[in-house]
């Protein structure tokens, strides 16, 4: 035993554990629970029926009371384990409950009604995943529509962002022209202007263009990201100008130089920007909330907020739809997280 513990507690270099090591592990494990725990609890809860969600204390697994079909009764009856005075245990189905007395039947012998005090019985439960929490809002409510709107906004905005930002970055890195530094200054300046400062006039611009209550009204104001222009420009500056001069000698047009030489060489930076853009646009909330007022145009985030804001909150649907909203971002986290973290550590951007 002591060998096991000394193996586990062994440290590189043979030094002893001090309080900083203990603290490090406390912080890491505490962080692990705190960072993943809430999301895990959300996923776990999303598979419970409304009855199971209302239970206190909450259970770890999604239990439902077992039901049984009994001859002579139209509805399926819930099963209970009943202990009688002699201490014998039986499994009975509940017909109805009056005060603290339940009228129960033996499923094998449904003619005889047995009266049982509700203190003497416990529901018989099995684990069952309430997948209807997912299916119902997607099919019966508008969530499939919201999902589609979110996908549309995210994909379109990302494509336009990649195109316009890379074109601007190309001009700003590979051409010498008057006013280049002014344009750069202008882009720097827009970094200072968060959406919340311009929402009121931006709303009137969108309305004047007839883009109120239109997904394009959500997409267009977000696509010219200063961060994207910056990132791509920095990357394109590392592409040697000789390459472009050589292409010009070969009578390539400027458009061809951009499209066939510079763009493919910028692929790594474009990929990082694409990941960022997908996460940004998928998660956008305030602007879609203002632009979209018709239900069928809501994005997932707005739809979810609307459902959660209703007087009678249907938590079982909301939890499940929150999980759906989380899925793309979790996929990005699992597969592409290192690109983002290195991107941030390198450039300090978000």
């Amino acid at each position: 035993m002591s060998r096991v513990s000394s193996f586990l507690l062994r440290r590189r270099g043979g030094t002893r554990w001090d309080w900083t090591d203990v603290f490090t592990w406390f912080w890491l494990i505490g962080g692990f629970i705190l960072m993943f725990g809430p999301a895990a609890w959300l996923v776990n809860s999303s598979f419970k029926t409304p009855a199971a969600l209302a239970e206190f204390p909450p259970t770890l697994l999604p239990y439902v009371t077992e039901l049984v079909q009994v001859d002579g009764y139209d509805n399926a009856l819930p099963l209970y384990e009943v202990t009688d005075e002699n201490g014998d245990a039986r499994v009975l189905a509940e017909v109805r409950r009056i005060g603290i007395v339940a009228q129960m039947v033996d499923p094998a012998n449904p003619q005889e009604i047995i009266k049982v005090s509700i203190q003497d019985r416990t529901p018989r439960r099995t684990v069952s995943f309430a997948t209807e929490n997912y299916v119902e809002p997607l099919v019966a409510n508008d969530f499939l529509r919201y999902l589609w709107n979110s996908v549309f906004v995210t994909v379109m905005a990302t494509i336009i962002t990649l195109l316009t930002n890379s074109m601007a970055a190309f001009a700003l890195s590979k051409y010498q022209f008057r006013g280049r530094s002014t344009v750069m200054m202008l882009i720097v300046a827009t970094l200072m202007v968060p959406l919340s400062v311009i929402i009121v006039p931006l709303y009137s611009v969108i309305s004047a263009m007839g883009l109120f209550n239109s997904l394009w009204g959500v997409i267009l104001p977000t696509v010219a990201t200063p961060t994207g222009v910056f990132m791509l420009r920095q990357y394109m500056l590392t592409i040697p100008d000789e390459l472009i001069d050589a292409a010009r000698m070969d009578k390539a047009s400027e458009w061809q130089i951009y499209w066939r030489i510079v763009l493919p060489l910028t692929a790594p930076a474009l990929a990082v920007l694409a990941i960022f853009s997908v996460v940004w646009r998928w998660n956008d909330f305030l602007w879609p909330l203002i632009v979209l007022s018709r239900r069928e145009l809501y994005t997932l985030q707005v739809g979810l907020n609307t459902y959660a804001g209703e007087l009678n909150v249907q938590w079982h649907f909301i939890l499940a739809m929150t999980v759906v909203t989380m899925i793309p971002v979790v996929l990005v986290f699992i597969f592409l997280q290192r690109f983002i973290t290195t991107g941030i550590a390198g450039a300090g951007l978000k």
């Binding site: 590189r12 959300l42 882009i187 311009i198 009121v200 931006l202 909330f285």
Partner: protein, 341 residues
Amino acid sequence: MTAQANTSIARRAGAIIMAPVALLARAFDPPLRMLQKFGGTNVMAAFFLAPNMLIFGVFVLFPLAVNIAYSMTGGNALFLTNREFVGLDQYERLFDCGNYLDRQTCREDLFWTAVWNTSSFVVLQVSLMVGVALVTALVLNRDLKARSFWRAVFFFPVLLSPVVVGLIWRWILQRQGLLNFGLYELGFEPVNWLVERNWAFAAAVGVSVWAHVGFYALILLAGLQAIPKELYEAAEMDGTKPGRVFWRITLPLLMPNLLVVLVLTLIRAVQIFDEVYVLTGGGPGTSTLFLTQYIYEVGFASHLRNPGLASAASILMGLVLIVLTLFQLGIVRRNDRRGGK
């Protein structure tokens, strides 16, 4: 082998998807060649800049300029041309107070409540955020196995949408939620987290730290890793105590990154809105009503609607943000001059 097969499949799929795009790009070429022939390189530069700058201009620069004019108008009309000019009335209204020490006496007491809440939020959240981010970065900078895994752990909530963050915590903090169950198991009285004013405010602070701390820890970690190892080796050889190493080497050399993080958290904290809005809706009462929500509600909610007033408030907030951003740019420039990160 399989990995290679996968990439070749991916590449082929990519080529198929890109085929129409490539065709489109080729179709663009002849007219653009004409443009290049008649206009020269400068026109081409303008062409490449145009889409991005047009969108910038229409959706950022123009609204920004209009916002100043907008804040000097009154009434409920949407378009600037239909609005009546009122000079600085909206600003006067915001600053119209009987007694500047008591926000209840102000005409727009809601605005001052939002200002007060935002200020307290900024102070609490920024200090907590920088503290937790610093400790996390220091922990992650130790000689850990699987550091990238642990780094990812703290980064996970950063990617979640504010709506998801708000709902996750609403579910945990509700009266019969997981947190109260934990308290109950430990023998404490359950707390109605989102219904009691001070707890709701604390929850807003805590949840926003939870959601963003991984991002700042990452920046600080990059700063820590840029500190030359030789300094620590030299300190160890001199037998310097760890505490002294932290105060004399780590902290001074991390200061540039720490300042960047400080200003970034400040800028973000001033604008706090979405996750708190989903979590508490600004309530209970107005205890978690922040500036952005005030602007949003005065600008768009029907019962309070006064776009000119919202616009004036947003300009005041913008001024604070511009000061903070200039401060940040100053720090970055100074760091660059010193040859640091």
